[in-house]
């Protein structure tokens, strides 16, 4: 994607019918660190890679609880993601208050998509630079949606967004047909394995990922490090030699940037 005379304004069409600002916003999503979502008929698991700005800082929070029955994982401009999460929480709680009933996730994502669309049609606004994986329940069971900066939304059995998400997607594509009937435990295991795919050889440790679960009869909550590590231990036989390799690999990965285009990761993108 190169700079051209049609990309300054979100309200300027290109002659080939594209809105470049919107597409650039979607690029921002691709630069963020990976977020993965998968669902069975009754459960949704959201997982993400914990990326920290530097070794000195803590990692950014990328998964948010919206309500007991809805969670969201973000990739891209985390600040935009937080604002949208707050909006989702607000919509959810207002519905609960008026109707004493949980807001169906399918309706929430439409509200979210419409909100994003507004930013693609006002000259004084810019699109939200964040992709959202929204997992939640409604009357027909568990659902997973992906909301785009363009204002589009899609429903998925499983999906991954952010940098090196293609590796996770390839892994998920091989298995997604069985997810519908998966048990909760298998779903969690598949999520963590998908996260591992995005790490490209780096050893998977529980400190590197955040995993959250919600389901029918199970309110949204994060899995603690111990639980995640136990799942990792079932498939990762980690001998001590690998630790040394991981240390060497990690700084190289951080410096190398994360994906196509820009050399460094912009500070606001995580």
């Amino acid at each position: 994607m190169f700079r051209n005379q049609y990309d300054t304004d979100v309200t300027t069409w290109s002659p080939t019918g594209r809105l470049f600002q919107v597409e650039y916003a979607m690029e921002a999503v691709k630069q963020g660190s990976a977020a993965i979502g998968l669902r069975s008929r009754s459960h949704v698991v959201l997982a993400c890679v914990n990326k920290a700005q530097s070794e000195l800082s803590s990692h950014q929070k990328k998964i948010f609880k919206v309500d007991d029955h809805i969670g969201v994982a973000i990739a891209g401009l985390t600040a935009d993601g937080r604002v949208l999460s707050r909006y989702m929480r607000s919509e959810s709680i207002n519905h609960s208050f008026t109707y004493e009933s949980p807001l169906p996730v399918g309706r929430l994502v439409v509200h979210l998509a419409d909100k994003a669309q507004v930013c693609t049609q006002r000259s004084w606004k810019r699109p939200y630079g964040v992709g959202l994986l929204v997992g939640g329940l409604d009357e027909s069971g568990a659902h997973l949606y992906y909301n785009c900066p363009s204002g589009n939304y899609f429903e998925y059995q499983a999906f991954a967004i952010g940098s090196r998400s293609q590796a996770a997607k390839t892994y998920l594509e091989r298995r997604f047909e069985s997810f519908g009937d998966s048990s909760r435990e298998d779903l969690i295991k598949d999520a963590i394995l998908a996260v591992r795919e995005t790490l490209q050889g780096e050893t998977l440790k529980s400190s590197l990922c955040t995993v959250s679960v919600l389901g029918v009869g199970e309110p949204f909550h994060f899995l603690d490090q111990e639980t995640i590590q136990k799942v990792i231990d079932t498939f990762e036989k980690v001998p001590e030699e690998e630790e040394g390799e991981a240390e060497a690999a990690a700084p190289a990965e951080q410096g190398g940037g994360s994906g196509s285009g820009d050399q460094d990761v912009a500070p606001m993108e995580m």
Binding site: Y99, P104, G106, D138, E139
Partner: protein
């Protein structure tokens, strides 16, 4: 009960539409849960003060697929509420996504509406009964004009609270059959007919089950006026009563 509202200059312009007293009113609604859902009974009268003016008013209406709403109190306010709910159900249906508002949701929505109107000193002068069935679960609740709201196995409004509920407390039990439920409601309505001056002998009983709503055709109850006490009402009494 009258509402005394402090009058300020703005009143004439802004608030001339406030409800101060009810004009055309419906009397009691009585409703019970039974084996397959909910039964609700009301008469078809609309009183204009002490005049039994309108005799064909339907005070029980179906709301969407899963609910039944009965109202006592100001009829025009009931019609207004039906318009609100119509819009609510319409928007719910337009989503076309397999989710639908059940009786619990409608009840809570109405509670919000009634309470917020009460806070603005412009109440909808009704006591509402909301019954319904969704996913096999029966629901029966009530909201008053001041926003007091609760659920129960049997509810009644107005005079029904005083005359019908004692009967229901004694004779209601879970899993009533349809026939027993109707008999119980008719017993309550008969007492109301004898003792409530705004009741008329033309009633409807509505039923809601998982399958849907049925409102009966209007019919009347058999009454008996040959009780000895009615023949010679003052026989046992000294003095005025």
């Amino acid at each position: 009960m009258t509402f005394t509202i402090p009058i300020d200059n703005g009143d004439a312009l802004k608030n001339s539409q406030r409800t101060l007293y009810p004009y055309v009113t419906g009397t009691s609604i009585v409703a019970i849960k039974y084996k397959d859902g909910v039964l609700m009974a009301s008469d078809m009268g609309g009183s204009y003060g002490s005049t039994l003016r309108y005799k064909n008013i339907e005070r029980v209406k179906a709301i969407g697929k899963h609910s039944l709403l009965g109202a006592s109190g100001e009829i025009s306010d009931f019609q207004e509420i039906l318009r609100y709910l119509d819009e609510l159900i319409l928007n719910d249906n337009m989503w076309d996504d397999g989710n639908s508002l059940g009786p619990k949701e409608v009840h809570n929505y109405l509670t919000r509406v009634m309470y917020n109107r009460r806070n603005k000193f412009n109440p909808l002068w009704n006591t509402l009964v909301l019954g319904g069935v969704k996913n096999g679960e029966s629901y029966l609740g009530m909201v008053s004009m001041i926003g007091v709201s609760f659920e129960d196995n049997h509810v009644a409004t107005g005079f029904g609270n005083h005359l019908a509920r004692p009967i229901l407390r004694d004779e209601w039990h879970a899993d009533l059959s349809f026939e027993d439920g109707v008999k119980l409601l008719e017993k309550c309505m008969r007492v109301l007919l004898y003792r409530d001056r705004s009741a008329i002998n033309k009633l409807q009983i509505a039923k809601i089950t998982e399958e849907g709503v049925t409102v009966s055709q209007p019919y009347s109850l058999k009454t008996f006026w040959e009780f000895q006490a009615f023949h010679n009402p003052t026989a046992g009494a000294q003095g005025s009563w």
